[in-house]
Subunit: 229 residues, 2 copies
Amino acid sequence: MSQEQDTRTAFMEATYRALCTHGYADLTMQDIADETDKSKAALHYHFDGKDDLFREFLAYLHEGFAEKIADHPEGTPVEQLVALVRRVLDPVDEGSEHHFNTAFMEIKAQAPYRDGYREILRRFDSDLRTEIADLVREAIEDGQYDEGTEPEAVAEHVLTYIHGTWTRAAAIGADVVTMREHLVEDLLDLLVDDATVPIGVEATGEQATATADGDAITGNGSDDVVGSG
Amino acid sequence: MSQEQDTRTAFMEATYRALCTHGYADLTMQDIADETDKSKAALHYHFDGKDDLFREFLAYLHEGFAEKIADHPEGTPVEQLVALVRRVLDPVDEGSEHHFNTAFMEIKAQAPYRDGYREILRRFDSDLRTEIADLVREAIEDGQYDEGTEPEAVAEHVLTYIHGTWTRAAAIGADVVTMREHLVEDLLDLLVDDATVPIGVEATGEQATATADGDAITGNGSDDVVGSG
């Protein structure tokens, strides 16, 4: 890695730490410089202000996100799908990660006002949607999901629900695991009648116990919007 | 209405207009005063800074929201439920309303950092959840929804999805109507097999045509996470 790359990576890591401490709205270039052994002038040498720095920071985050969602564990497509949802909605109740998620919500809220932010945020959505749709497609090919299941529609729904989970967690402190496991149940409800219960995807909610019963594996009856049928 | 009340209402209306113009992050007390015939000093006389003003503003918004979601049209419970979802997720593509939704997203993102914001935002969620759960309960009593349907679980799911719709619309400019109509289809999929097609709740998506077929009324087959069965 060149020294220039080293420096930029150090600034990205410093931005992450500074965000966790200060949030996005009140964050200054000085706060970020303070997280490095460089001066604010050095930061300004590399970036043309906060917006410019954050466009690179979002691209840097996206790179990590893309790697994270493409890294599937061994298992059936539905097991991988459930694992993906749980990885993306991994609750972080303490320390810096929690504050980072709050700060990332601020960045999303600022996106309409800042040049270039939305374009990068769309890549997060687009990659996640593709990943989900691909797994649903594989689940259909493997006979876990019915042929009538529509990969793109499922992916869109899951994506919107995931955004809602992040938002409710940040805005009002709603519990991520509860919301996430409802989504997992919906994904398990899509299994065909004679599908094997996926290994390792038992519901983890307090009241939930994974059972193979009818066409749905739900915690307590029809505990999701999919409900009856 | 007393003169004091008149003044406070005028400040709330001014805050709404100022938010639409400036967004939340950059909004100053002066910006708000500029939307009235009062001085910034008068504003400071009534409110102890921006956070204090915004706590009252959120309560003012909540009052309007509570009235909006409780105002049901004539119809069956499911018709009312669909109408509620469409009312809450009414797309606003132009002018001030659009900017207001963007600004409201900023306020949600700031909630973790500001005293008292979360408490008021929770009331929005709690009222909407209650309203949805009550309608689902009525739908079960009326025989539109199966007895196994769980009102609270459906309400939670719808609430999270609605937040996701708002977030994706603000953050990346995703289409509200497309996301909303997927949710409507999910709610119609919950109808029991012999339920009458609700009047006035035909899908409005481009490719969607309302049909009474089996237990689901969907646009194009299983175009939602509910999918097959």
